[in-house]
Symmetry: C2
Subunit: 371 residues, 2 copies
DNA sequence: CATGTGGATGTATGCGCATACATTGTGAGA
DNA sequence: TCTCACAATGTATGCGCATACATCCACATG
């Protein structure tokens, strides 16, 4: 016997008023007498009434929530059904080994920014992972129940995106600046990497740089490489046509690249990596092989994740405002919702180069410095 | 002129069928002829039709999404409206200082687990931060548009939770095991901390232990302290009545506690911390003061966050399965949705003690070991 | 050739709310 | 005292879909 959920009608009956009054108590409290409000609220409490979001959304033609198409994070489809184990607490040695970071810090931060701004504006955020055979169904479901959508680059096929963009506004984060109708939010990847490369050339006098790229289909990775090349060109150095090697933005792949570089023999003076995880992996490999950073080789990253401050040496990197990326996306989306006439917007957030020990700008601290 | 969104009626008209057939193409494709399906799908594409989630939810009496009441993460209300700055890329020294972690890793992992399991079952996740003066309104909005809800402990006042629990099932993560009607998922905090403490006593022969607690209102912090006391009692040691000090689960507070301990003079042989961030903060303070860990003092944590592997020495800790916590919550929620008759469930997930360098179980690696 | 059967499709209705508009009641002003 | 304006509340309707039930049609069976 699934209990019938209370509706406005039940509340109205119990409070001795009409359903319009009940609705008003929630939507426009000012238009209702204090006394009536009290009676209605009591009925609401007694019955355990909660307005149906679906009915509200249908009647008001807006849902009050925005969608986030969650990226395809690695291995989501490798998880088996959960099995419940119970038993004694295991106690075991956990020897140091290759460190594998949990989750994706970049995405977590962007999401946090989205949450913050959504909260500030009183909207909820609905997330779905559009992946697997049911992808388009999942995506439609999401698009059907939100007022607008934020999409991280590479998370949704163009075709699907175009379809739903006819219904609700879409803001793309870090996507290719295509000639599309979406709003775009991105960070100054090219500018940041150019400044980083210029720094290595100008301040450290390095002319032997190798760029370690990211996935070939990543717009960010491409922009960063472009910035790198601009700096080389300005400095009159030989401009690489392609990255020296390509990683997949993971630390373990970075380690593999580091080992490969070592195996090749002569190490470039500077290893400019397309992101922090790659830089940290390269650093792992070099350090393990006894190569001194920055004395023997300089390593730099991009993103500004926490782990770059916890490594030894700390990694010189370009910090991009991940949280602001999320905030700006929501801000732009809500702006468009309130005025659909606006022309497609395109915002680029500034980045900053953080000079630390791995490029040699700061002396490597030893434990002795603390004592 | 806000374009009218296409509805089933528009699609039906264009395809020359009835709305029932259009609906069936989406909901029960098997009952429709291949030919009809093709015609309808063409109309859907042409018109850019996406089914309204609100109307679906209203008609079907379920929304296909579950709610997550996002915790009150620190400082959300301190954010000012976003201001857009533009300008040249800043390039500046970033000297080493007190490390302040970004975001909350625990929550990120739990969320990831929730996403994974939600994806596996084809449901979306709606998140809202119920905080501030509009808290109950926000919360009702969330509750009204989902089929069930996952609540992290301490994120929702009991009263609000009880109200919405009359409408939809609620699964609580890491909450106090009260005599309520909710399903509960938790980890074996007490057992883990007991095992950790027993290890220090038994394997290391330590009898002089100080427990550094967490917030007084955190059930987890309380359970961990209880486990610690059980171990002391079993070993016949003097059982502390209260934690030696209390942190707030942050690294900076951990550092403050570390400094305070140092200022007091005689350091206990082991500092058993209620969570990793606190342990890392204490470690920061001791290391900076020249105290050797583990030789002079042993430090242990709880949670198993990444940073415990990046510190030097690495921190011995109790790993709790954060991702599984999220997965189990969703699993339980969906189970209940499919059978509301089930009795309230209560699952405790196992934890594991990871013995590393900070308790002395493994030798501290120096850079020389790598070469 | 009449009848029965099952699959494909159409018709009509209600889900729970917001809101335009109608109605009622109250006090101010004439 | 009567009228008018406005505030408070009620009535009726539609939002877009899913679905129970009705209808229709092709084909098998007697």
């Amino acid at each position: 016997m699934p209990k019938a959920l209370p509706t406005v009608y039940d509340v109205a009956a119990r409070a001795g008023v009409s359903i319009a009054t009940v609705s008003r108590v929630f939507r426009r409290p000012d238009e209702v007498t204090e006394a009536t409000k009290t009676v209605v609220q009591a009925a609401v409490r007694d019955l355990g009434y909660v307005p149906s979001g679906s009915a509200r959304g249908l009647a008001a033609r807006r849902t009050g929530s925005i969608g986030l198409c969650f990226p395809d994070f690695d291995g989501i489809d490798q998880f088996d059904p959960l099995t419940f184990t119970a038993g004694p607490v295991s106690v075991a040695l956990d020897p140091a080994g290759d460190f594998e970071p949990t989750g994706d810090l970049y995405i977590s931060e962007v999401m946090r920014g989205i949450e913050i701004e959504a909260w500030r504006h009183g909207v909820a955020v609905t997330i779905a992972v559009a992946r697997g055979p049911r992808r388009s169904e999942i995506f439609d479901n999401l698009a059907g129940r939100v007022d607008g959508m934020v999409a991280l680059s590479r998370t949704v096929p163009d075709e699907l995106l175009a379809h739903i963009a006819r219904r609700i506004p879409v803001v793309m984060i870090a996507g290719p600046r295509a000639d599309d109708a979406y709003d775009h939010i991105s960070t100054d990847s090219a500018g940041g990497m150019r400044a980083m490369t210029e720094h290595l050339i100008t301040s450290h006098g390095i002319t032997d740089l190798a760029f370690i790229g990211g996935p070939a289909d990543s717009p960010d990775a491409k922009n960063r490489f472009d910035g790198h090349r601009e700096a080389l060109r300005s400095a009159g150095l030989r401009v690489a046509r392609a990255p020296r090697m390509r990683g997949d933005f993971t630390r373990s792949q970075g380690r593999a690249i580091g080992r490969e570089l070592l195996a090749e023999g002569r190490l470039p003076r500077a290893l400019v990596c397309a992101n922090d995880q790659t830089a940290l992996g390269v650093l792992d490999a070099l350090t393990r092989a006894g190569v001194r950073v920055p004395e023997d080789a300089v390593v730099t990253g991009f993103d500004g994740i926490d782990a770059t401050q916890l490594s030894s040496p700390r990694v010189t990197t370009v910090r991009q405002p991940m949280l602001e990326l999320g905030r700006a996306a929501v801000d732009t989306l809500l702006r468009r919702l309130s005025d659909p006439q606006l022309a497609p917007d395109s915002r680029t957030l500034p980045v900053e180069v953080l000079l630390r020990e791995s490029c040699g700008c700061l002396p490597v601290a030893s434990h002795d410095d603390f004592s």
